[in-house]
Amino acid sequence: MTYLCNKLNQEKIIIDSNLSSFFSLKDVLKYKSLLNNLAKRDFLVRYKQAFAGIMWALIKPLMNILVFGYIASKINSSADTASNFVFVASAMLLWQLFANVFNDVSNSIIGNSNLFAKVYFPKIIIPLSSILVCLVDFMISLIILIVLFIISGQTIHWHMILAPLFIILTLINGFGIGLYFATINVKYRDVKFIVPVILQFGMYVTPVIFSSTFYMEKLSRFIPDWLLWLFYLNPMVGAIEGFKYSLFGGDAIYNFNYFILSTTISFLFLLIGVKYFYKFERNFVDYI
């Protein structure tokens, strides 16, 4: 009986040699429980058989903040140490989120090739689940930031409600670029080695430890002023400036036009990443 009922509203599926698919929210929602279960698996498995367990989600970013915060406070000795520390910590956490999403998304497809080589599901589910895992880690590490905020006696502003927007922008950055690299990774495993290099280098051309103003001053010694926008081709500059602005206000956003340029680049990268992914997605199995 159930069968008959299904038969009435079942759809006809066509498999064709030149059929290409594109992102469909309907498909993703249909596989929602797979998305959740994959994310849950990655999260659970990571901390299985580790004595400190889920505490590692706190310890790792904390270490980073301590090291880089210390370095920054030594260099920027002029500024107030405590707020300088929180300043660096907030940028650092957001950068870590980007780095994790970028890295995990770019490795997600080959890491789960055993799944889509045997069962059909929209492959976009895999990188999406990587984002979920990174986001959970980020939420945990936000605790550090909140504690630092309270200790250093930061004031609460209305513009703090903008912060989630820049977290989303960071996810978009990591996802867009990550998806592009995930696609290349299917054929060229070199990606595994390139991504950490990009991330390491990228951190130093992004206002993580220093403010944008600092970079602009240094840069203007080498290049003419009208070329300064080149710095903003890095989509993470906009995200981090915006995040800092939402938390601390002040002059975190160096130049609003440049800021818009950087965020535009974010969406451009997302578009390129998604397009590239869907161009090759159907043939992944043959290249793995």
């Binding site: 159930t2 069968y3 079942q10 599926i13 959740n36 994959l38 498995v45 069962v119 070199d190």
Partner: protein, 423 residues
């Protein structure tokens, strides 16, 4: 598409480009860079690739409620067909139309993670196979019951015995409720009782609820028990479709040339532990022959290469009579003259020789096929070629009186006189 057709396959083809020298250098950026340089300097070598059609122009239709077996030798394109049907890989040409929810079971336990508990894996695997949380919740107890793992639900599956692991994996898959179910040779694992249970479940699902099943197996007995229709493929091409018994008969009689030997020097698959390299039929003076005279002795020699040191490997040989079907299967572990059951195989090449029991084999055409497994755990390799040879009638004691004898074998048995009363 007629009213009753659920799957319609039209002109389906799949081409693969093979790199001749295994993993080619051009698979890395550096390799591509080098190739680019060569091209610039105009010393580009001939491309070391080869086109290969895994499927070529295959068309057929399947009606609702049919249980269809897909038959063919290794390399006939069965798995490729299933992969295209289940949308894992796209066809190069042609199209498929189907309606209804389709689930494919090309492997048991896809996505099982050793560190997760049985319970967590049921949810993970279920969602990979396309069930949502609600469906899994509803079926959960049934799945656990079927797999007989209640006590170990919260134990990581890496601590499970291999039997438990397979049972749990199949149990999840068996409780899918698709209108079309695609099953590759996944039942080769597990013990006989469990295999029966799985087949029973599949039969029940198909008969009671009118579902369509596509099933690949090398076991003809299983196919004829489960499937009402079959498709025969050969070297990527469609040969025929019809009632299973008829198709099996066609299949068994479509031998390649009767040579008594087969070699496979192809590159092993990535991560292969073992590969069967050659099979030869030898006569009493150890020469390769295609005909054995049962006056003398006859042997089958198998050579296999072990790539990864390990224990528990087993190689088995099945002997099939063209007319009578399977005669017997014999395993390396049965009587390995060197000994124990859990022998460690070092890396290297092994050669074994099996004497054929000619005293009771009937004359006629035979096929020997080989497979290597770790019993109940995994299939390591299935030899790509069936080796054909024939046994000649001759002057052995029974041959003289073959006429009027029925059955697959001709044993000479002792008739012990117990009593005779003469009136």
């Amino acid at each position: 598409m007629s009213n009753n057709t659920v799957i319609k396959v039209e002109g389906l083809s799949k081409q693969y480009i093979l790199n001749k020298s295994g993993a080619s250098k051009s698979d890395t950026l550096y390799g591509n860079f080098l190739n680019g340089l060569r091209n610039v300097k105009n010393i580009a070598r001939k491309k070391e690739t080869e086109e290969f059609w895994a499927l070529k122009d295959v068309s057929f239709e399947i009606n609702q409620g049919d249980r269809v077996g897909i038959i063919g030798r290794n390399g006939a394109g069965k798995s490729t067909l299933l992969k295209i049907l289940s949308r894992i890989t796209p066809p190069t040409k042609g199209r498929i139309e189907y309606s209804g929810r389709m689930a494919s079971l090309l492997e048991v336990g896809t996505g099982f993670h050793g560190d997760l508990s049985g319970r967590e894996n049921i949810y993970l695997n279920g969602s990979i196979l396309g069930m949502n949380k609600f469906e899994i919740d509803r079926k959960f107890d049934e799945i656990v019951d079927f797999a007989e793992v209640e006590k170990f639900l919260d134990t990581p599956v890496k601590r499970y015995s291999s039997g438990m692991y397979v049972r749990l994996a199949f149990a999840v898959a068996a409780h899918l409720e698709p209108e079309i179910l695609i099953v590759d040779e996944v039942l080769a694992v597990g013990d006989a009782a469990f295999q029966d249970k799985c087949l029973g479940k599949m039969n029940e699902v198909s008969a009671k609820e009118g579902r369509t099943i596509l099933f690949v197996s090398h076991q003809m007995a299983v196919l004829s028990a489960l499937c009402n229709k079959s498709v025969l493929l050969e070297k990527g091409q469609f040969v025929g479709m019809g009632p299973t018994d008829k198709i099996i008969n066609t299949y068994l009689h479509r031998g390649e040339k009767n040579t008594g030997q087969n070699y496979d020097n192809s590159e092993p698959a990535n991560g292969a532990k073992l590969k069967i390299r050659s099979v030869r039929v030898l006569n009493h003076v150890q020469t390769t022959v295609s005909e054995i005279n049962n006056l003398y002795k006859g042997y089958v020699e198998v050579t296999f290469e072990v790539f990864e040191k390990g224990r528990g490997y087993d190689v088995s040989m099945e002997l099939k009579h063209m007319q009578y079907g399977s005669i017997f299967t014999t395993c390396l572990k049965d009587i390995d003259t060197e000994g124990n059951d859990n022998k460690v195989f070092e890396k290297g090449v092994y050669k074994y020789c099996i004497e054929l029991p000619l005293s009771f084999l009937r004359e006629g055409e035979y096929i020997v096929s080989f497979a290597a497994t770790i019993p109940k755990v995994e299939v390591l390799d299935v030899f790509n070629y069936d080796t054909l040879f024939s046994i000649l009638d001759s002057t052995s004691p029974v041959a003289k009186t073959t006429e009027g004898r029925y059955g697959a074998i001709l044993p000479v048995l002792e008739w012990k006189k117990m009593e005779s009363v003469i009136i």
